[in-house]
Symmetry: C2
Subunit: 495 residues, 2 copies
């Protein structure tokens, strides 16, 4: 079909420019000297503008209309391809340029000031900028909601986790809230009875890197199609044929970089495992932020913190750091180190048991901010209440380790936070289904994990965006999202 060909050629062409943006973005975070930033930012902004123009070209509307008319002749994959192109096109073109610009300015201003304000614990200064950002996010949510005929917050969710709704999250997180705080307390009490020997540094960076690369290979990361580097904030970037993951090294604690590398390797394998025949098309991209996070958490939590994997890591870490006789490196102790649970203020430092608490409190706040049920001024109080309720910690007056700790809201990325915990729930559900078909622990213990990756490849990676998250889960596990698996998993591993 001629118009479908035109659409796909257009998006493939666009993907070449997105490729360049991905590599230059990676470079900016890993390689670029400080002085290069100003000109680079200008170049990246020019490219972003060009990509936006390409994404919103007027003729696309006609092509979509034409394809829609003849959609009965399309195969299932073609239909999915059209739907994904259309989703990106609508998302890009629905906002008026004035709003896009205002958002970008307010976000940049808020984020820039936040870097200092956080250090200064300056809530009043931050709140002033955040109010602007929230006002614009509300405007954005309403415009997107009108287009999608849904609730405003759901329209923002759709940017990160298509098909997800606040109603569904309320239900799922509601179930979590029933048992999580109590479970956290029970795990903490149980672990207080178990002595843990913390491995003592220094762990030289070169040895940590070698260990990380060794584990990446064991996890099937292809260095023919990717690299590992260093950045302040770890991420997975690049393109499917050239995936760039990063970490940062703490010479006193090798587990932090190692688990980070394993996490990013999960993201990376999803990207490296996307179907080549759909390369360059939206339908060939990863399904969603939540599904992406499910893969990184599958690697980091489901696999790497399991007892049999701790045995593998233990051997490798002993060799890497020459600690054959160090009691901290005995397998049982190391597994305890990797599964230590400790309620804390900071989300990015949280273990997998307390992590959902951080997310739920953010979700409750941002949902009500967008709906207009609450205002920026009430964030600190609500934060403090939820932290006390979930984790027994107060953040009263402690803004920098409370509601000012994350970058996400500064530029208006509302709807993003829930995907972290959705990913954790998906991962637990996938592992539960996998265990019914595979002897997962035996496979891990064997050191050859391919059957696990083949399963993920078949059920997740190779399907890209050819179907919805609900369908992916249903086809892979026999049901749509069911948070009971996460409870079973957490309580099984930790209690």
């Amino acid at each position: 079909m001629e118009q479908l060909d035109k659409l796909e050629a257009h998006f493939k062409r666009l993907s070449h420019f997105q490729h360049l943006a991905a590599i230059c973005g990676w470079d900016q975070a890993t390689m670029m000297p400080d002085g290069g930033n100003h000109a680079r930012a200008d170049a990246m902004a020019e490219l972003a503008l060009y990509c936006h123009q390409q994404m919103t070209q007027p003729e696309l509307g006609d092509w979509f209309a034409d394809v829609d008319e003849k959609s009965r002749h399309l195969s299932a994959t073609q239909k999915a391809s059209v739907a994904e192109m259309k989703r990106q096109w609508q998302q890009a073109s629905v906002l008026p340029d004035t709003l896009v610009k205002a958002k970008s300015l307010a976000g940049a201003k808020c984020e820039h000031a936040w870097r200092q304000q956080r250090q200064d614990n300056d809530w009043d200064g931050f709140a002033k900028n955040l109010k602007e950002v929230v006002a614009l996010a509300r405007e954005e949510a309403h415009i997107r909601a009108d287009q999608k005929l849904c609730a405003p917050y759901d329209a923002l969710l759709d940017l990160y986790e298509p098909g997800m709704t606040a109603e569904r999250i309320d239900e799922v997180f509601g179930a979590l809230k029933q048992w999580l705080p109590e479970t956290i307390q029970a795990v903490v009490d149980k672990q207080a009875q178990q002595p843990v020997i913390t491995p003592k540094g220094p762990f030289p960076q070169a040895q940590q890197k070698a260990l990380g690369e060794h584990v990446m290979k064991q996890l099937g990361f292809s260095f023919e199609y990717g690299r590992l580097d260093i950045s302040t904030h770890p991420f997975c970037g690049g393109v499917p044929t050239d995936v760039r993951i990063t970490t940062r090294y703490d010479e006193q604690d090798f587990t932090s970089a190692l688990m980070g590398v394993i996490h990013e390797t999960g993201h990376a394998r999803y990207e490296q495992g996307l179907p080549q025949d759909l390369a360059g098309l939206p339908v060939g991209q990863a399904r969603s932020m939540g599904v992406h996070e499910s893969q990184s958490l599958f690697f980091e939590m489901q696999l790497a913190r399991s007892a049999p994997f701790a045995t593998l890591i233990c051997q490798q870490a002993k060799q890497a750091f020459n600690r054959q006789d160090d009691p901290a490196f005995q397998v049982e102790n190391l597994h305890r180190v990797l599964t230590e649970v400790s309620p804390g203020y900071i989300r990015v430092d949280a273990d997998e048991v307390t992590y959902p608490a951080h997310i739920m409190l953010r979700y409750d706040i941002e949902r009500d901010l967008i709906s207009g049920k609450m205002e920026v001024d009430h964030i600190p109080e609500r934060w403090d209440t939820a932290m006390q309720q979930y984790l027994g910690l107060s953040t009263a007056g402690n803004y920098k380790n409370g509601c000012m700790q994350d970058i996400h809201w500064t530029d208006g990325s509302f709807g993003y936070f829930p995907t972290y915990t959705l990913g954790a729930l998906y991962a637990a559900q996938l592992m539960q289904a996998m265990r019914q078909q595979l002897d997962v622990d035996g496979i891990i213990a064997s050191g050859n994990l391919s059957p696990i990756f083949d399963w993920l490849s078949q059920h997740i990676w190779q399907r890209a965006s050819t179907t919805s998250t609900d369908n992916l889960l249903k086809d892979a596990t026999g049901e749509t999202l069911n948070p009971a698996h996460f409870r079973e998993y957490i309580q099984g591993r930790y209690l």
Copy 2:
């Protein structure tokens, strides 16, 4: 003036895309894993096509016409700005798309096959492809010549060294030919009387890198605005606020990487020293390939192989490799190592005395190939004759170390070779003029070389493309290109 503003905005916008191409090109040569090449090549080709389209947009012609009409109102810098934009625009738009495509295909085919053919010493196979490339280069030269109203080969020269002509090069190289072969012989004879102790490896890569970075700092390279990395073929890339130079390390010979780094640092300082107020405009770019090479050779030859610099390097190399008592690292010996002259087959391995011989023979051949005075089949014979005449070496039957050694002709870059030797001549002339104003040896000996760089900045770097190469030389040295300074320099240093 409205149309001038439009033109400058257009070229500045284009420079943002060229920025991304430079960084992704650097990445391709230094960081990219092999598997990433296919998608990267597609992305880079898409970007090149887009840049070409932007460079040849039809409305540019109208804007230039309008600006030309009102040119009497322009300042000198504005006039230069218009001239440089126009030069790039004309160069990009004069060739018909069919020729551009045919050139690109024939060049890619010839270069790709050459990589294997060179190893196989397969002249016949190579000649077949090269004939296609030469035929298209002749076509290109004629079209460009018609536009510029000049001789075909001069039109190609203009791509690399604007304003230069074959007539002038014939004259300059003619003078060189008078004395160079004899001088080479005399230097070789003289050096045969001087014992040289070759420093013995291993010289670990990390120590070589540290030494290179130390010397780069001494030469004023700003790591705030640039980096040093590794690639198979050393180059200077990136953008003026983020200059990326590369080298390769031979653990048996530290001088090769060190001199390479110093060479690229010369290129880098030119880029880092370009005027910021003209950034993004053609007039703000380096003047030409020849002037660029003059800076790298000024650093590598004029500075770094001088006796006082050898003293500096000697101290630093002793420390870097812990060779305080190694006789090879005594200053007189090290200076001899750095100034060894030895006729050889390979251009890229040549010293500064024999290097022009390699260039002159290539120039003679390519000039006659383009004018139609000779054909591809006669290249090997003519190569052999010239090698015997200039360097006393025969390349009969030895194609791979003869006329098949370079990549330049494979994709049709005729007109490029002469700029290497023009650069060497410019460098000698600049140094001669500098010595009349500065105590260059004393400055080098002091270790603080800033006065030298200030002089280059004032006379070369800061002037960018605001005037012609002739004028640059005249303003800096009191005369246009005068090859006598190179003779004086070579004979003074080596005889």
